[in-house]
Symmetry: C2
Subunit: 449 residues, 2 copies
């Protein structure tokens, strides 16, 4: 059964190779993880700062344990402060406030209710007490759990409901073994309050991440992406299939990102006034604009799919009758969106956008008229006309959607009392824009737009 | 300063009126809440059962407090069982398992790590211990918090990461004041394990809600909604604007519900085999099908918008050349989807769907050909032709999407080893279908589809 020395060496070599391979694999994985983490941090450096902030908050509340006079006061209840920090500290100020306030008030109310239930149950003597308490806990847990299914409650108070069940159960049940219910509850609520305060203070004071600001930026960015597409599309021979991926990539990011706005909104509504935003900033209007932008992105997607599937040959006639009008429509609505973006970013009234919207609407009307006019059809190649007309009609669809976005942004501007500044540059800009409108449309008063 | 008796009576009456109004308002609100709750419960009765199940689980773990021998063993650690039940018990089995396993293993690993950190820090004496512990806690909190931003970790282990930070902090910090770290940790992990077990057992044994089954049903329902639209649309004069809201309402539910499938998927992958599904059922294929269905719904939406905005007059020529082909396309792809639905529901291979897909593809090809043929254009009213052709091309878009859905479902059927049964009725069905194909397409072998 003894191995020869050759066999031993062979086995050792094999073992060595295996270890080498394993270490190599591990190192490779670690390098991969490191590069991933670096990319994640570079993508949004606030993530790194958030991690450091949480570490700091946790270190601060752990002083409750280290510093003996404090520990003598709070005892094991200091644990609740640590728990609160880990659970409540979220990425944005709004989310932290939502969870913190939910936790504090739910603990307060449910704790008081639990203490009441404890005293009520205690009246029924040692045998009855566990039974009565059980019934109370069962009922409250059922009711609050069911309430968590109500959509409006789920959006705002879901966490509070959970903490409510938890606190009520802990306070009323633990009363059975420990009669110092009120004292225990006092300690718990004060440590939780302390934890929430530390979270909120650190969240606000060290490079705060405002969900409202994020929502604001995000909406502006989405509209800008639409503008980039429409301007890019308006500058090329827009009936040919799109080779250039440069400006078609932008709008696709909007298609994927539904739901993020809703999350930001749910946090933003808890935030106090910050930066340029007051406490009751009309955040729900952003949701409306967000829905319209994603609608617009889907319509652009339909347009692009149609372009890539159909092979349009552009004759001279189509070029003058359809293509130029399409290019104008696209360019003008792109400019309108660009104006909306800058008015959102600078919090000013989007007065100039109306001119461009008006231009694109006129162009759309002209396109429809020329598609209906029979002289287009008299001596034209039908086979090329159908796909070109389809693209034109889909573009009309997109333009209509940009109008709706424009209206929604104007509503936002009036709801949020955006500054009405920049009236002077608007006038000069208007003159610069006029040549684009064309003679036929100067007569239409802008007020009718 | 004294009031006359008239004034007193007046004031009392006012007060009475106010109380009456308040009570009336309260009663009104309560009635409203009750009707809302009833609607919520009727909409999905499993919500009521879930609430009762949570109440039951909570009552069971509270025995740890009531029953003295148990309390003598676990003490205040019994609190962790109550907490675990409230936090871990989710609507579906999969979500409960995910949270439960995350909580158990995170507590186990982070607790062991925390105990290790405690002993390591204890080596540095009374002064150094808090500092070393703080550094450990800070570092681990930063790293785990940052890891929560990694999308793949967030989807599966987000809760575990949080519990990891919490447990590590509690175990390593509390060691400073209490040297029975290991004993405390043992009690905590056993009560948490107990809580998780109660949750999982009740979740599985009392009318279980399987996220996988929900996902399966949901995908089938979404495809069915598309089928309802396409069949309905194929049975009316489909170039006229749609008055009948009956079959256009169905597909709209798909537009709103993105994100739900992802949530269900994240829970379903944690579930053991249940019903007809094995443990490693290809749940991610459902996500693929879900994305295609919502794409298809958006294309149908574009079609409907186009129909409602354009006013199509149907001449005799258009009726025969376009409308009938459109109706066939719509009807056949509707039937194909209907076959897919029944094959998903019965877990059988979707062999019959291919025939219908083939039919609708042929019809689409015919439509394209007739749109390109010049004889359609010779003596036709162009003004009515353009919108009709646009609708036709949009419908081709929809049909292409249904093909993709069909392919994805076939992939699912082969991945999940669906039964290949029902070969006999397929043959007879095929014969029934043949007349629809038309003479020109019989020669095309089905294998080329």
């Amino acid at each position: 059964m003894e191995m020869g020395s050759d066999e031993k060496v062979g086995l050792m070599r094999k073992g060595f190779e295996w270890v080498k391979k394993w270490v190599k694999g591990l190192v490779g994985k670690l390098v991969e993880v490191r590069s991933k983490a670096t990319a994640l941090g570079k993508d949004d450096p606030r993530r790194v700062i958030h991690s450091l902030k949480l570490g700091l908050a946790l270190t601060i509340v752990s002083i409750l344990y280290y510093y003996n006079p404090l520990y003598a006061n709070f005892g094991v209840s200091a644990m609740w402060a640590v728990m609160t920090v880990v659970v409540v500290f979220e990425f944005s100020v709004g989310a932290t406030l939502r969870k913190g306030l939910n936790r504090t008030f739910a603990t307060l109310f449910a704790g008081a209710l639990g203490a009441g239930a404890h005293y009520l149950a205690a009246l029924s003597g040692h045998v009855g007490q566990p039974i009565i308490t059980s019934i109370f806990v069962f009922l409250l847990a059922c009711i609050l759990t069911f309430m968590r299914f109500v959509p409006s409650i789920k959006a705002k108070y879901d966490y509070g409901m959970m903490i409510g069940i938890l606190t009520f159960a802990l306070v009323s049940i633990s009363g059975i073994q420990d009669d110092e219910v009120v004292l225990l509850f006092e300690k718990r609520i004060s440590t939780i309050f302390l934890g929430v305060c530390v979270c909120v203070l650190i969240s606000i004071s060290i490079s705060p991440v405002w969900a409202g600001q994020d929502l604001h930026n995000r909406i502006a960015l989405n509209i800008e992406n639409l503008a980039i597409f429409l301007e890019g599309y308006g500058s090329v021979e827009c009936l040919k299939s799109l080779q250039d991926e440069q400006f078609t990539q932008e709008y696709k990011s909007i298609l994927k990102s539904s739901g993020i706005e809703e999350t930001l909104y749910n946090s933003a509504r808890w935030e106090p006034g910050h930066g340029c935003f007051q406490f009751r900033h009309p955040w729900n209007q952003y949701l409306k604009i967000g829905a319209l932008t994603s609608q617009c992105a889907f319509r652009i997607d339909a347009l692009c799919r149609n372009l890539s599937s159909s092979n349009i040959q552009v004759s001279q006639k189509i070029q003058t009758e359809i293509q130029e009008t399409c290019m104008e429509m696209s360019m003008e609505s792109g400019k309108a969106l660009r104006q909306l973006v800058s008015s959102i970013r600078e919090l000013t009234q989007p007065t100039r956008a109306q001119i461009y919207t008006h231009n694109s609407k006129s162009a759309a009307k002209r396109l429809k008229t020329s598609l209906r006019s029979s002289h287009l059809w008299e001596d034209c190649d039908f086979l090329t006309l159908i796909p070109a007309a389809t693209v034109g009609l889909l573009l009309v669809d997109v333009v209509e959607c940009t109008e709706k976005i424009s209206e929604a942004v104007q509503e936002l501007a009036s709801l949020a009392h955006f500054k009405s500044g920049k009236a002077e540059p608007m006038q000069s800009e208007k003159e610069k824009v006029q040549p684009n409108i064309g003679v036929a449309f100067v007569t239409i008063p802008i007020s009718s737009v």
